[in-house]
Amino acid sequence: MSDEVKWETTISDVNDGILVNLEKPSPAYWVALAAAFSLVVLGIVFWARQVTIGMGVTYLNSPVYWGVYITDFVFWVGIGHAGTLISAILFLFRAKWRNTINRSAEAMTIFAVISAGLFPLIHVGRLWLAPYWMAPLPNTNNLWVNFRSPLIWDIFAISTYLTVSLLFWYMGLVPDLASIRDRTRGIKRLVYGFMSFGWRGTAKQWWHYEAGYGFLAALATPLVLSVHSVVSWDFAMSLQPGWHTTIFPPYFVAGAILSGCAMVYNLVVPIRWMFKLEKFILAEHLESCIKLTLLTSTIVFYAYGIEFFVAWYSGNPYEWALFEKRATGPYAFYFWVMTFCNCLFPLLFWSKRVRNSIPISWVICVLVNVGMWFERYNIIVSSLVEDFLPSSWGHYEPSPTDIFITWGSFGWFFFWFLIFCKFFPIVSLSEIKLIMPKPWSPKKLKGAAKHGAH
């Protein structure tokens, strides 16, 4: 598919084309940065209010102690997954189109996981005590942490994921930072030279680099599949109806990749426009991203169906009652938003016209992200409100604090992403050169054409 892409540019245009534009982005960039920053400020204000007044401002109370914050946590971890999928799994599959968007996808992963990491800290209230409770340290009774607890698994999974994603991303950046170093002077050159570890681009360095990159991709592949599985065990290992199902790991992973692919599209389209990257990120590459979104959307659709089927087929009345209530009860609104946004709207992507229309696809991708947020909310809240004890049943709605901190996390995510776009090559320079026509000599090209004619 992408092998037949017609490039109008050659490898000689890459560094000039991409790096020059980074130096002077369109005014829209500054508007977006300011908007993102104001959302961060909004989030900080409401978080400060929560720390001052107490957790009561969040409406979290028995039986729902996991509300919007854990929804946000799962949502952001999920967003991160497409980055690793695109950079590691598609690398192993040799999907060439990934080379144009993998850098943005990896950056998205890093900032999404950092955003996710904020939420357990916000959620514990007195976050200055959190490292003590979460790290494997003996407590006052000299007990160690319980390694049978999925929450401890989660700490290990998320911190490993963040570290490995950072390494993978930075490793990819090293040769590109060297390219920037070689075009700049003075203090800038010094800074980029330092950040690129003095990369010289010798054939030996590339040889070890390629091998290392392959191994990192091979390590990151099981990691990306495991991280959201571990996140899903935070729920599935409990006995709560609606959570206690074996389908959760694959279902969460598919959902994570769906929301992540949609988010990659949502990010790459404006960035491509702001930094004039149309000659490098071609329409075909964007379409491939949409195809991946469609694929994962159908998997998610199937998982929703199977989840309902199993709830009914299990013969477990509690499980079935909960599922029936999800679709018709007080949280039906969330359920139907989730179904329409994740399952039905993406079906429009079967049409090539829709896939190739960037504005329509962009809007559908936004809807998918809305739907995926609602999915997590639906899973977490509608299961918690009604457990085995009808006397403790309750109701939960998000408070303004939750909502504004959630918006703040979006601001935080976009803010860092935009900062990254300004200072680092948002398209991987060395990798996009690999998928462009190779710089063969005219003699060889002539020979190949002659050979082809025979």
């Binding site: 290990f156 570290t163 010289r200 040889w207 390590l219 060395s430």
Partner: protein, 173 residues
Amino acid sequence: MARTKKSDQGIIAIFRYLDVVCDAIERVRERPDFEGHEVFTPTSYHEIEHACGFGSSPVRFFTIIGALTGTVGGFSLCLLMDWDWPLVVGGKTAGLPSLPAYVVIGFECTILLGAIATILGMLVLGRIPNPKRRVLDPRTTDDRFGIFVPNVGLDSPQAALLKECGADELKVT
């Protein structure tokens, strides 16, 4: 003084085309008078790797050692804490480790240390960071290939051979 350390003094030949530089590498790589030469490439073309005659990179030993250390470390972490102070749940016998639960920790540590060791391997084997070496030609991180030969001048037979191989430009570094 015999030069045992790598030096940046010498000549660099700049090439524009991938096939031309590959032919040149194949011609010079075994010659004793090109001892210590270095090839520069803007990205990791496999043609160059083949022309240089590289096999499998030893980075793989770093990866496997790191990963196995992680596996052992992850399981040990859980098991030692379990033996130090068993958390007895549901009356189960203390001292019997719940290995399935520890697989997660073992797995995560495997990936973590494997990845860190891979990066270290790449840095150590690629000899970076090395503040003593400098960039010989900024174009080699853009769109040109280069072959560097240490300790020779522009009037040397090595320079003549590189020119014959189709170098676009030769210069003293």
